[in-house]
């Protein structure tokens, strides 16, 4: 057995204890539904339950409220240009994501009342988290004074003032923001985005072609056409499956919100692009492995802008010359049992992860689709003290992002990472992909829902990392098992759901339960060769070789290329031969 097998075996042993829970899952779901319905009736916003125990760092104490300046004293040149230069112009300038520039008086004047409106209502700058609760690196937030000055300026006629008061215009680095990368990856050819229609999710596969392993310290994504690229996520695939999907599609990349079965974020990191975001550069001792043969998959969320556009992104990689000594991990907190009935305007999910070791929390990335409404992520310390990681009062899928803490948050062993999200599947949710609304369950497509709080943590040493990795594997396995059981509950006639659950139960050693589900799968689809083969394998594991043989023979008849079935059949026959005669 390899080390990986030992880990899996360990997880399986640990999970046998949880298995009975799985069999009671349907009953428990019913209870949860009743509980959440009772709570929903209260329609309370997501708030930590013990606010008196919530952390309130000093820098987040409420700033002085804005006091109006003397009438007609606020001018563009003296008061407003510095605010726009600092907070808006990174995107609102030529060639960037903002639809108009905010670098000259005339441009600002010609959108003045609209600017005041969107700033007053918090629509711009786009920033989802509650900035009064938690601070993040590079947050796009205006102070009460800045908002007050802009509104007074607009209310009083948006005057220019004395141009000699103007500060110098900000200077931006042209080209790569982090300097010339060690490696530049480009699209083989541009993708043509149509002028209209709905949002487009496109996955572009770029072979890296490395001769030796590299340690990637920083990634800079240049979207190529920021006016139509709403956000991008970088993934890696070492199996070639994404490349195959790309090749099968005649256009560059392949479509869909699901980026392929084998693509995943580099272990321990989130790498993405959103308008105005500075590329993140990790310390030299923190990097991720990029191996020869691995492809990079760049998923772009594209929003048609009224005319046909060419999209040709580029990726810059900066390498570290030493292997990383600090290796972060990403922990996923969130159930895979989402089931939102049509019309439900306040469906809630909760989940938690108990940390088995001390860690430092580096960043969070919350994720839901179009029904997501509110989000709360917290650390619950062993003494019950609740420290918020993130709160979002009005989720917007289009502005999802990673939120990085200015300094890592130390968290002790025994603390819990906790999440609670709410969803709105009513017709009043205008982003609802279905009108009239329909029942929505967990899944990766845009018409499904997800509820994940991804937390990037840094374990303190190698031993802790191993412990945390095992705990994460157990948590992920449990979530997947619950998800499979849930799938079977909501789609009892779905062969895939039934087969997946049977496989998971088999891997746990729960052979009777696995056999029951394989049998069910074969009732749904009598010619499903994998289920037939696996049922034979389960009978072998139970020592019932004679019972196994008809299943394995049939699996081979159904799928003559199924080498596993041939191999298993030989083993079963051999076992029977060698069995002592009665």
């Amino acid at each position: 057995m390899t080390a990986r097998h030992w880990i899996i075996a360990g997880i399986c042993v640990a999970l046998i204890g949880t298995l009975l829970t799985v069999f009671r899952w349907e009953q428990r779901l019913a209870h949860d539904t009743q509980a959440s319905r009772a709570q929903r009736e209260q329609q309370t916003p997501l708030e930590p339950t013990e606010p008196q125990q919530r952390a309130q760092p000093k820098e987040l104490t409420e700033a002085e409220p804005f006091t109006l300046r003397p009438p007609n004293s606020v001018t563009y040149s003296r008061h407003i240009a510095p605010i726009f230069f600092q907070h808006c112009a990174a995107c609102h300038r030529s060639g960037e994501a903002g639809p108009f520039a905010l670098l000259e008086y005339a441009d600002c004047r010609s959108h003045a009342s609209q600017i005041a409106d969107v700033i007053r209502r918090g629509i711009m700058p786009p920033w989802l988290p509650d900035s009064k609760l938690v601070n993040y690196t590079d947050q796009r937030v205006l102070s009460a004074t800045e908002i007050g000055l802009i509104c007074q300026w607009v209310d009083e006629g948006a005057v220019e003032g004395d141009r000699s008061d103007l500060p110098p215009q900000p200077q931006w680095v042209n080209g790569w923001q982090l300097g010339q990368p060690d490696m530049v990856l480009e699209f083989p050819r541009p993708f043509t985005l149509p002028s209209g229609g709905g949002d487009v999710f496109r996955n572009f596969v770029i072979p890296v072609g490395l001769a030796e392993k590299k340690y990637v310290r920083a990634v800079e994504i240049r979207p190529g056409n920021p006016r139509v690229v709403h956000h991008g996520v970088l993934l890696i695939d070492s199996t070639g499956q994404s490349r195959k999907l790309d090749e099968e599609d005649v256009e560059p990349g392949f479509g869909g919100m699901i980026y392929g079965p084998a693509a995943h974020s580099p272990d321990g990191f989130f790498i993405g692009w959103t308008p105005g975001k500075m590329p993140f550069q990790a310390q030299a001792d923190m990097a991720w492995d990029l191996n020869p043969g691995t492809d990079i998959v760049l998923q772009l969320h594209l929003v048609p802008g009224g005319k046909q556009e060419q999209v040709e992104a580029a990726i810059g990689l900066i390498f570290s010359d030493k292997p990383p000594t600090k290796i972060p991990m990403v922990l996923r907190v969130g159930p895979r049992t989402i089931d939102i009935s049509s019309g439900d305007s306040d469906y809630r999910i909760r989940d938690q992860f108990v940390l088995p070791v001390d860690v430092d929390v580096l960043s969070v990335y919350p994720h839901a689709h179009y029904l997501g409404r509110q989000m709360l992520g917290e650390i619950v310390r062993p003494d019950g003290f609740r420290q918020p990681l993130i709160r979002i009062a009005a989720w917007d899928f289009k502005w999802q992002d990673e939120y990085r803490f200015p300094t890592p948050i130390p968290v002790e062993k025994g603390a819990t990472l906790s999440m609670e999200f709410s969803y709105d599947n009513s017709p009043e949710n205008i982003r609802n992909p279905s009108q009239p609304p329909r029942r929505v369950t967990y899944g990766p497509e845009s018409s499904d829902e997800m509820g994940d709080l991804w937390v990037q943590v840094l374990p303190r040493n190698e031993r802790d990392r191993d412990i945390l990795r095992a705990a994460r594997a157990k948590k992920d396995f449990e979530a997947e098992l619950m998800g499979c059981a849930f799938e079977v509950k909501i789609r009892p006639k779905d062969i895939k759901a039934r087969y997946n659950l049977a496989c998971m139960l088999e891997s746990l050693g729960e052979l009777d339960a696995a056999a029951a589900h394989y049998t069910q799968a074969l009732r749904i689809s009598p010619e499903h060769a994998p289920s037939m083969n696996n049922l034979g394998v389960v009978r072998c594991k139970q020592g019932r070789y004679a019972d196994a043989i008809p299943h394995l023979e049939k699996a081979l008849r159904l799928s003559p290329d199924l080498e596993d079935a041939r191999h298993n059949l030989n083993l079963a026959r051999e076992a029977i031969k060698q069995a002592p005669k009665p």
């Binding site: 048609p304 009224g306 992909p433």
Partner: protein, 182 residues
């Protein structure tokens, strides 16, 4: 200032610069559209919502132009030159001419305040609808996957069917024309 009465002679006296292909001249859209329903589509080249509507506008123009409905894109931005308008029409593939309205004569006649916003006049040039193209946008950055009500399309459909259409308005979402006033 809703105008639901017949067109006044004043409307015909306003002469906007018309931009179409390479030709530039002065016309009055009302005088040009005698006995034909008329649609003014207020737009600006740097308004993202206006621009995102270009394919929908094109679809509606192509559907109703053969039915003798006259369409005009109206540009109220005084800083937008004829050349820029021509470029915008070309880039977004608009199948109708543009009108420069730097003094907001048409803006005032139609009572428009937002881009994109449409003003629809019937054959006798009574204003029958002013407002959004459809209900896709409900706020800045907040839009439906598909519209549930196609206001412009539906009012033109009703005019074509000969239904008696009374004046109606619906709030448009987009950039404010008042910001363009001198």
């Amino acid at each position: 200032m809703p105008l639901d009465g017949p067109a006044t002679s004043q409307e015909s006296t306003f002469q906007q610069i018309i931009v179409q292909d390479e030709a530039v001249s002065r016309i009055s859209p009302f005088a040009e559209s005698t006995h034909a329903p008329l649609v003014l589509i207020f737009t600006r080249s740097d308004c993202p919502i206006s621009n995102r509507y270009a394919p929908e506008v094109k679809k509606i123009v192509e559907q109703f132009k053969p039915l003798q409905v006259r369409f005009w894109l109206v540009y109220p931005d005084p800083s937008l030159t004829v050349e820029k308008i021509r470029e915008h029409l070309r880039e977004y593939d608009y199948p109708c001419p543009g009108l420069r309205d730097p003094d907001h004569d048409l803006v005032k006649i139609a009572g428009a305040s937002i881009t994109p916003e449409v003003a629809v006049y019937d054959r006798s040039h009574r204003l029958v609808y002013r407002g959004r193209i459809d209900d896709r946008y409900v706020d800045f950055g907040k839009s439906r996957p598909q519209p549930t009500q196609r206001d412009l399309h539906d009012v033109l459909d009703a005019l074509w069917a000969g239904t008696d259409v009374t004046f109606r308005s619906a709030t448009a979402i987009g950039c404010r024309i008042a910001d363009l006033s001198n």
